[in-house]
């Protein structure tokens, strides 16, 4: 029972982690809580659904398609709603702008698809395997493997490539990076593109896992993923992964052993407790204030 719940928790947690990565990457560079990120995730889920049902695509084509679509959507959102505000306004006005985008996107999808829940068709034959008393479905394996591959890919991208290096530089000091000849606008665009595509992947995976998508699914998922990013230490990429997995496992365990009616409160309760004990999150660096 415990191990199965742990597995369920890791599966849920890895989707939180995929979304949390986008929050943490954007935050690391421009200190913006991108509230529209949850809606990007929702769009990812719907685009995946569209590709599967209308275009008859298989899971992996749907996954790639949704990622590409959201990559463009994320860059577009940044270009239209955040870039004009950068540098000349407080972070709070950018935050309100992000909230505006979030409302806009979820309403847009509600107008297109209606507010009801849509079921994902069964595109996979789900097998259940028994490994030493532990029950694991092929779906869970796919989610865990895909998430792991994406996260490894992200690490490689950030550590090994030129754009990754530029992103790391920008997260240290945006102005200095710009003085060093880095095209900051391009790096920010790339960050949104990468973060959004990961969220899209999360959307498709959650869609098939829970077999349901709806236009307002982005809000709660977004809040929890943001909580995961903060839990891990916002701005830290490994932190977002650990935060996501921790939150997923805790939430599933809480539902299994405590009460399911408090499901949505558990994630936040954990977060508050962790932050009170360790204000900078699990992997966040303590910033000494310069005076």
């Amino acid at each position: 029972m415990f191990w199965e719940q742990l597995l369920n928790g890791l599966t849920l947690g890895s989707t939180y982690a995929l979304i949390a990565l986008g929050y943490t990457m954007v935050y690391g560079i421009i200190q913006l809580i991108n509230f529209a990120h949850g809606e990007i995730y929702m769009f990812g889920a719907f685009v995946g659904l569209f590709l599967v049902t209308v275009a008859g695509a298989d899971l992996f084509t749907a996954l790639i398609g949704a990622m590409i679509f959201c990559m463009i959507l994320g860059m577009l959102v940044e270009r239209i709603a955040y870039r004009p505000l950068r540098g000349k306004s407080s972070r709070l006005s950018a935050l309100i702008s992000a909230i505006g985008v979030s409302i806009f996107l979820s309403t847009l999808m509600a107008l297109i698809r209606g507010t009801n829940t849509t079921r994902y068709p069964n595109i996979l034959e789900i097998n259940t395997y028994h490994i030493g008393g532990l029950e694991i479905s092929s779906l869970q394996i796919i989610i865990l493997v895909v998430s792991a591959l994406l996260m490894i890919g992200l690490q490689l991208l950030i550590q090994k490539t030129k754009i990754g290096k530029a992103m790391r530089a920008c997260s240290q000091d945006l102005d200095a990076s710009s003085l060093m000849g880095i095209n900051v606008n391009r790096v920010i665009s790339a960050t949104f593109a990468i973060g959004s595509s990961l969220a899209a992947a999360g959307g498709v995976l959650v869609g098939i896992y829970y077999n349901a998508v709806w236009p307002y699914m982005g809000m709660m998922a977004g809040l929890k993923a943001f909580a995961a990013a903060v839990l891990g230490g916002i701005g830290s990429i490994p932190g977002a992964m650990i935060g996501g997995l921790t939150l997923g496992v805790m939430e599933i365990m809480g539902v299994a052993y405590l009460s399911s009616s408090y499901k949505d409160a558990i994630a936040f309760a954990i977060l508050i407790i962790v932050l009170i004990i360790r204000p900078q999150g699990i992997l966040g660096k303590k910033i000494t204030k310069k005076v």
Binding site: I96, I99, I103, P279
Partner: protein, 291 residues
């Protein structure tokens, strides 16, 4: 007076005026926390719900006099504001924002499971004690006291914390005490508005006080102009009327609302009245006359 008003003013408009009044109280409360003191709170609806449920339960189930119920709701909200204020001793910026979001979500889930509060159905049939005259009487008192407070030793200390916390400390301001004070007073107003709301609508449910409600209140403060009393009032008026005006675009209402937020932030990043001072206006006019 109330009879006179109900006789000569269309019920629809009267209702909007009452809601504007309640929203002004909410916005001025959050303005103290976020606008003046600079502590980003994204869970103001949580305090509102505490006031609403407390007052409603007291009048309905304990036959408490309305004024006592209102006061009790506001005081309980203030107490929770005080509790939430305590983590601010250690947390900054967006970590604090996350704690406030989490707190409001936990409160919402609590009421979803709270038997005396009618669980997900909520409470209905509260005596409609909230009248136009009462609401606007309170609004005027709140505005006057707010103005008095902000132009005093305490008020200046709160602004100083927003502007530069280290310099504020060096000027002898006990910043932690002041931040907790701002949270307590702001939450008191949130709870007060909640009690009024409950006894105006005669119906409350947990979903009335969700994340979107908190965001709506934050929008009022930022849109009007952080830290400005006229700004918060204007923000509350516009954001109460806007959805009504946008009724002509029916289903597209929220689409416009979201888009409008983005556009307003791009063109007035400091809010509508955030950087407007009588002194500057005078100076500009004077210069024009000379030139």
């Amino acid at each position: 007076m109330e009879a006179f008003l109900t006789q000569y003013i269309d019920a629809y408009y009267l209702r909007i005026f009452v809601l504007i009044g309640i929203n002004i109280i909410l916005a001025l409360g959050l303005n103290l926390i976020t606008g003046v003191t600079g502590q980003l709170s994204m869970g103001h609806a949580g305090f509102m719900s505490i006031g609403a449920y407390t007052a409603a339960i007291l009048t309905m189930q304990y036959q408490a006099p309305f004024w006592a119920a209102l006061l009790a709701g506001a005081l309980l909200a203030a107490f929770f504001g005080f509790l939430i204020g305590i983590p601010t001793l250690r947390l900054e910026g967006d970590y604090l924002a996350m704690v406030t979001i989490g707190f409001a979500e936990i409160i919402r889930v609590f009421f979803l499971n709270f038997e005396p509060g009618g669980k997900a159905v909520g409470l209905y049939g509260m005596p409609p004690n909230t009248t136009f005259v009462l609401v606007w009487g309170i609004v005027i008192v709140v505005i006057l006291l707010n103005a008095k407070l902000l132009d005093s030793r305490t008020g200046r200390a709160l602004y100083a914390i927003r502007e530069n916390e280290i310099a504020a400390e060096a000027s002898g301001i006990d910043t932690t005490r002041m931040k907790v004070l701002a949270f307590t007073v702001g939450s008191f107003l949130g709870g007060l508005a909640g009690g009024l709301y409950a006894h105006y609508m005669s119906y409350i449910a947990p979903q009335d006080f969700g994340f979107m409600k908190s965001i709506e209140i934050l929008n009022m403060v930022v849109l009007g102009g952080m830290g400005s009393i006229p700004g918060s009032i204007l923000g509350a008026v516009i954001l109460t009327i806007a959805p009504e005006m946008l009724r002509i675009v029916a289903d597209y209402r929220l689409l416009f609302y979201g888009g409008l937020l983005v556009i307003l932030m791009i063109f007035r990043p400091n809010g509508l009245l955030g950087d407007v001072r009588i002194y500057d206006i005078k100076k500009r006019w004077f210069k024009k006359e000379v030139g």
